[in-house]
Subunit: 146 residues, 2 copies
Amino acid sequence: MRAEDLDEQFPIVDVDSDALEAARMIAEHGLPGVIVVDASRKPHAVLLASEVLHLILPRYVQDNVMLAGVMGDALADHAQRLAGKAVGEVVPKPPRRIPSVDARDGVIKVAAEMAQLRCPLIAVTKNGRLHGVITASRLLAAALKS
Amino acid sequence: MRAEDLDEQFPIVDVDSDALEAARMIAEHGLPGVIVVDASRKPHAVLLASEVLHLILPRYVQDNVMLAGVMGDALADHAQRLAGKAVGEVVPKPPRRIPSVDARDGVIKVAAEMAQLRCPLIAVTKNGRLHGVITASRLLAAALKS
């Protein structure tokens, strides 16, 4: 079984797309994160769900988690701070190594890359362009099918 | 909104339960990982999907990812190495800080903890015992509901 037999095609998250839209995609598909691509559809960055939460929260809460306990529950208000910002502006800098395999790579290779980077999802590329995404739990499901 | 309004109850993963069963639960529910509890239902460890992949793969593949490219695709055979092992034996040692909040904590607190630990899931406890689990994408979905 190869990466291209297992990957899923989610809507493309472009570096220029709205950060709020990227957050929506993560939420709607229940993903641990998304792969962000550049204009040529080459993987540009990985944006994890926990990182989006980091982007949403006000700095003073990040600096003092105790404060979070006494705040109201207006998480939805904070989420609006993503609106109007491009994904490319908010992805972690400097960019980390993007977890990525080729569409023709075998599942053992995919598992090895994911395990090494301790990453919950990986980009699958074909001719350097994003072909799809595989989550660690999906790969695990394939491994457990006997 | 509080943690207990948002958490999900998945089957309990006990330290003494079979590691292969823990892997199945991650796969079946499409989770980024599971919270492992001790005999008193207190969170004991977090086991991520990518870590299970790490446990499944033979050491020689971990040491040399290039080798993974030339191997067959018998990931399912490797998964069997989890069988008969207790979860408590395979969770990462030394234990990391377990991402955890109280059932009555507000969602801002939950988001802050998750963002700080950059963790895709968090344990929700009531009187110190596991009450449920919240994934980062689920919390994000709650934040985006306006």
